[in-house]
Assembly symmetry: C2
Homo-oligomer: 314 residues x 2
Amino acid sequence: MSAILPHDIRQAHARIRDHVRRTPVLSSSRLSAMAGAELFFKCENFQTTGAFKARGATNAVLMLTDDEARRGVATHSSGNHAAALAWAARRRGIAATVVMPRTASPVKIAAVESYGGRILFCEPNHKAREEAADRVVRETGATLVHPYNDPRVIAGQGTVALELFEDVQGLDLVVCPVGGGGLLAGTSVIVRSQPTPVRVFAGEPEGAADASLSLTSGIRQPVEHPSSIADGLLAYIGDLTFPIIKENVEAIATVSDQEIIAAVRRLFGVMKIAVEPSGAVAYAAVAGGKLPVAGKRVGIILSGGNLDLERVLG
Amino acid sequence: MSAILPHDIRQAHARIRDHVRRTPVLSSSRLSAMAGAELFFKCENFQTTGAFKARGATNAVLMLTDDEARRGVATHSSGNHAAALAWAARRRGIAATVVMPRTASPVKIAAVESYGGRILFCEPNHKAREEAADRVVRETGATLVHPYNDPRVIAGQGTVALELFEDVQGLDLVVCPVGGGGLLAGTSVIVRSQPTPVRVFAGEPEGAADASLSLTSGIRQPVEHPSSIADGLLAYIGDLTFPIIKENVEAIATVSDQEIIAAVRRLFGVMKIAVEPSGAVAYAAVAGGKLPVAGKRVGIILSGGNLDLERVLG
């Protein structure tokens, strides 16, 4: 049985709904025709702070006791979770310290600063990030809000799918991006709790395909030097998120950076919306013909919109 | 009295509403805070064909008799009206011939082609455009659907404001871009028909400020060599649109190309939406502090989203 229940996600939704944005579900007859399916895009690129991460971070911050809250929160993140936690912390009037890789996108660094978060830069690898965050927790007594391996965060991220099913009837399958697995785990719990069977798939960058490898082999498998233009999806699948994903998710399709960029450009050119590379990975998997969507009603999560224009064009 | 009545616009809405998209009104707490006003963006960048032009073109095409329809339609346009007319004609199963300046944006040329329109290229000046279109009309018997100086088109464009007032209560003022004046004329008729007083302003590129000059002097005044990154707003204010604008519009603020590009980038960076330079001119006027918006509820029309990424960044 999952560590996260649909009930936890519904409670999270009640807790955060007045704080975050209910994002629209958009569709495009042109993109649907190209995919040979009916596509419904859940636009978390329009979410406060520019990504779904505001949901999990807000849920975690609101669940702190007053005593915990007084000592602040800390995390490590390539950017969107960092910005979201800084934003959620400021709304509660508490301090947030975030450890970011020094290679993080300038847009994301600027966002954390704009929300008043304190930034500590570290080397761009998993170990350096976790160690630096642990040090902050030891020194300040802050509560660590992990970007994905945290039940409060997973429950918050699951609210995306909750709204998607409220707004669109009769979905046959749902496609979600996967990095550390917080969004996918929460999504999969909601998908599998629907009264009728709905299939759940994910998209993952080829250069950071640890979740795909892990799902195939059944055992968590790191990728040594993950690399992709989808900078939000380089994290290693969590030991809390993986069992949930393994139980619920049918398959994870991998996509190349070229396919991701093509998806970003098409969402921009046709739908007139900004979606960052990490946020376009689920659509890239559909557009690349890698999932059994033909003739189906397909929910696609566009997870974030913090796009560096120059980076995608360069 | 206006040549266009609110009643004409309501009839146009009833005629076109099943054909075009009801676009959303979006807001951003960050952009509102920056402007010191409550901003409501009517997102015609999400309209079918990527711009509000689908409304006027559809209204004109649907008003043709069967006999007229058989001989097709023709127009001249820098692009968005051309694409819209080709699209509307194809929906009715009739031919569309469009005269485009050979300097038109490649995105817009591709759009006309994708909707099956026949394109004739001409020199990029007003006289060459009108002459080429007149020739097509003489040779084919097609009905000319002028991009703005046509009551059917003006009535169609006015439906944007109709929806804006349905969706947002208590607006104090409305800001609209102006080129040839079709959208502004239709908008102004709806604004002035509201039960409570609402002010109507426009934004215009500095390099093509004929509408601003004309409104100030009270007499239509062409600008010799209009030039701006807002390629949809280079047209000369019409002899049909100008009297309506003169009667209803309080002032037209001019904005530099630099201010327009800053507006496009900010709408993209903060709101995650693609708005083309011409479509961002009304917001540029507000963001540039050129209109009396402080503390007010302000409706801003974002008129199109057919953005050449490279051109804005270059």
